[in-house]
Structures are given as structure tokens and as C-alpha cells.
Symmetry: C2
Subunit: 144 residues, 2 copies
DNA sequence: ATCGTTGCAAAGGCTTTGCAACCTG
DNA sequence: CAGGTTGCAAAGCCTTTGCAACGAT
């Protein structure tokens, strides 16, 4: 959020801070959820910010590489993006019927458990786990 | 695997057992991993089984709906499919650099933990969780 | 014989790319 | 000013669909 941090991050990656990028980040800060490229594009149009769809894709990709956003996938054929909020991870409950998605913050026991699990997996498979994603599929309140 | 079970399953869903379907399932049984539609298609071609790509897609979809296969997504833009092996779930370690994927079977403590977690989430969000998927991203043995 | 299934090619949907004009540091 | 960034349209991919011929029950 603080504009300073943005500038620093962009400088570090040798990227420029443009109005498109700022506008895209504002969309995520306002909507606070997982958005597809087209949803971001539409949201910008609604705010009279004329940003081409290609630019939206390019910047979602850039912001993902910078670690500011990350991709999530719910099985509907589109990539979605959400703000990376450290250190609070969140996972998703996806409704198999209506496709709605509930975000929930990792419970404390859960974070602890996963952390231990990651250590175990790192050892066992000589891996270096950097992040994880968990999806639960089922029926939501309305559809069950 | 037992052909009998297939016949029963297909009869139940009012579908016919065709040579294409049998060939597709054989590919999964032989290769025993997550395959994309095109990988299945290529594998069939290699076996001199002429099955159109559209048929591959249609049957992967059908088999998924029947619960025989399920979809997984590793972030590379393609859907992958794998055989559903009850009751042993497995999760994935995905390398951010080379894209390789390691499958590992859920550890016992893990199954237990997730099971409890699912109950908690069902109560908390009035959900009915039917399945889950977990992905760990990082660097593999070769790339770390 | 009926009705699901297949192949082919065309269409569709999401994402990427080429390139000239534009803007930031 | 130099070099990253943008918009537009075209191209690229993966996936789905229409339709006539085919095949399983």
C-alpha cells in the first residue's frame, strides 16, 4: 500500500512506476479478492482508466514475478490473481456447483502443521518449498 | 482396472464402453501419472490407436465426471488428469524453475490433520467438502 | 434399430506477441 | 534522451462444438 514501498520494489526490479500499474494495484486493494485478468480490465474501464487488456496481462505477470501478486486457479479455465499478504496465507473453498469461492485465513494449527510438513517434504524429496496452495472442493451453503 | 468394474460404472452412467475409452484408460494405467490431453493423444498415436483429439477431450471430461479421473493444475496453462486412487490421496511438489512435478502420497498424520480441518471448515462455513488438493511450489533437487 | 460416440474441421476463449508511439527516470 | 511501457491488432494455444458417419447395446 504505501507508495514508497512500491517505488522501492520497482526500482529494485528496474521497472518503472506507471499509471497503469498503479491503477491495477488500486483495483486489487479496493476489491480485495482473487480477480481474473478480464475482471481487472473491466474494473479499470469502469473507473475510466483506459488500460489495454494486453497491458493488464503483462502487468499481472510482472507483479506476480515480483511477488506482489500470486496466481490461483479454481478449475474454471481462467487464472486468477490476488495480493500476496505475508505472513497470513489463505486457502480456498470452491463450490463444485456454482463456482463461488470462499477465502479463509490459515488457522494457527494449520500453519504450524504445514510448516512442519514442508520441512519433512524438503528432506524427503530434496526439495526447497517456497510456497503452497490448498484448495477444498465441495458444496457451498446455498448449493448443499 | 478389472474390466467388470468398468462395465458396471459405464452402465450406471448410461454410457457405452468403446475402444477409445478403453485405450485412454490403458494409457493412464501404464503411465501412472498426471497427463495432459495432448500427452494422452500422443501416447495413443504411439500405440497406433487412432483417436481424435476431440474424443480425447470429451472422454477425459466424461471420466472426470464419473470420478474415475480427476483434474490437477500446476500453473503451466494446461489441465492435467490422473487416476483417482481411493483412499490414498496424493499431493504435488511443483518446481518453479523446470516445471517438474513430484507426486507424493499423503502421510498418515497429514490425512488425519486434513480430515479434522475439513470438519472444522464445514462447520465454520456451512460447507460440504468433498475433496481437496494441495500444491507445494519451490525448487527441485536439480534446480535448487 | 436406436441413440450414444467419433473424427474432422471450424469456432471459441484466454493469453501472448510484434511494432510503432509514448512516457518515465 | 534511452530504454522500458503501452495499445492495437494479429497470432497462438488449448479446448469445445457442429455435423454426418459410425458403432455398441
Amino acid at each position: 500500500m504505501p507508495k514508497r514501498e512500491w517505488d522501492r520494489a520497482f526500482a529494485y526490479f528496474k521497472k518503472k512506476m506507471t499509471s497503469s500499474r498503479q491503477a491495477i494495484m488500486e483495483v486489487f486493494e479496493e476489491e480485495k479478492k482473487h480477480l481474473s485478468a478480464e475482471e481487472v480490465y473491466d474494473s479499470l474501464k469502469g473507473k475510466n482508466q483506459k488500460v489495454g487488456i494486453a497491458t493488464v496481462y503483462r502487468n499481472l505477470d510482472l507483479l506476480t514475478q515480483m511477488g506482489i501478486l500470486h496466481r490461483v486457479y479454481f478449475g474454471d479455465g481462467l487464472e486468477h490473481y490476488e495480493i500476496t499478504r505475508k505472513p497470513i496465507h489463505h486457502h480456498h473453498l470452491v463450490c463444485n456447483k456454482c463456482g463461488s469461492v470462499i477465502d479463509y485465513s490459515e488457522l494457527i494449527e494449520e500453519s504450524e502443521f504445514i510448516s512442519k510438513l514442508e520441512q519433512e517434504l524438503n528432506t524427503r524429496y530434496n526439495f526447497k518449498i517456497e510456497s503452497h496452495q490448498m484448495y477444498f472442493y465441495g458444496l457451498c451453503k446455498k448449493c448443499r
